[in-house]
């Protein structure tokens, strides 16, 4: 295997693993958050406006961790700095 193949293969594999593992935690956390919010909505329907607003803000906060993983894997696939560096080096040779 030459360097290009190794870089390409590791980038693709790691991109998949990053999104796969990175979304597990936020998925569980969002499930818990929504479940708790639904319980409190059922108990206190009057406070629905506050609960919904806090829920949305909290969900966006939780979701952003998954989004970071997604951004990292997208960078690995579409804008890989190591890949570009290697290509530039190979072209310069």
């Amino acid at each position: 295997m030459d360097d290009t193949t190794i870089i390409a293969a590791t980038s693709i594999v790691i991109a998949g693993i990053t999104t796969g593992f990175g979304t597990m935690g936020p998925a569980l956390a969002e499930g818990r958050a929504v479940a708790t919010a639904l319980t409190s909505l059922a108990q206190q329907p009057d406070a629905s406006a506050t609960i919904t607003r806090t829920l949305f803000v909290g969900l966006a906060m939780i979701e952003s961790t998954a989004i970071y993983c997604f951004v990292v894997s997208m960078i690995l696939i579409f804008a890989n700095p190591f890949w570009n560096h290697y290509l530039a080096q190979a072209a310069g040779k």
Partner: protein, 237 residues
């Protein structure tokens, strides 16, 4: 396939580049500014206002109410800044139903610029509202030990604000592009609808988080010197 609309170049002269991000940002600014200008041309306090005036009143009053629920007194002061943030991000994601349009918020440059606006606006509002001493005191709020952490949180939440919006908008267009190449029928439409929903939610989140940060800096220095200071709930980033 491209990661952001920065890579679509329309015109280039030396180092001056005109890419899709700039074009669509200015287009949106033009539409928003001209639209509100036209709608507010004939304002009336009649019993029956014109339709456009009614729409704008609903939007402005809705934003004002949301700002007030975060805990900011006198929402009119913040309406210009927070309302502009919300309307720009929301319009940027609503316009994705127009074919050939790329949301400018799908580029990291735009979102970093918006986040930097928040980064600068929070101290300005804090100093205007509480004075320079009061604002600086908010950095050592629970104890002096928290000073470095407060500074770090200031930077990290700006970064989080930028990357969150960028990631959401970019993932929407990216998934759409992938789906069009796999299943060109029907599924992209469903994802577009989902993208509209997440776009609006993200616009709301962006504006609300900016409001929460401003409210935190206003509240942190609120307790009187005579009373026991109560630590303000610091929103994590």
């Amino acid at each position: 396939m491209h990661l952001s609309p920065d890579q679509i170049l329309y015109w280039q002269f030396g180092f001056v580049k005109l890419n899709a991000t700039i074009v669509f940002t200015w287009g949106l600014m033009l539409v928003l500014a001209l639209g509100s200008k036209l709608a507010t041309r004939k304002l009336s306090d009649d019993v029956k206002p014109s339709r456009w005036q009614g729409v704008l009143e609903i939007i402005v009053l809705g934003i004002e109410k949301q700002i007030a629920t975060v805990g900011l007194q006198d929402p009119r002061r913040y309406l210009g800044f927070l309302g502009t943030l919300f309307l720009f991000v929301a319009a940027a994601s609503i316009c994705t139903i127009i074919p050939g349009y790329e949301p400018p918020t799908g580029s990291l440059s735009t979102t970093v610029a918006l986040a930097l606006c928040v980064f600068v606006a929070v101290p300005i509002f804090g100093i205007l509202g509480r004075g320079l001493r009061g604002y600086l005191k908010s950095y050592v709020q629970p104890t002096v030990i928290m000073l470095p952490f407060n500074i770090i949180s200031e930077v990290s939440r700006t970064l989080a604000l930028a990357v969150r919006l960028f990631g959401n908008m970019m993932s929407g267009t990216m998934i759409l592009a992938i789906l069009v190449s796999i299943t060109p029928l029907l599924f992209p439409i469903v994802m577009t609808v989902l993208g509209l929903l997440t776009g609006i939610v993200q616009a709301y989140i962006f504006a609300i988080l900016a409001a929460v940060y401003i409210a935190a800096v206003m509240r942190a220095s609120e307790p009187d010197p005579g009373q026991e200071p109560t630590p303000a709930p610091e929103p994590g980033s």
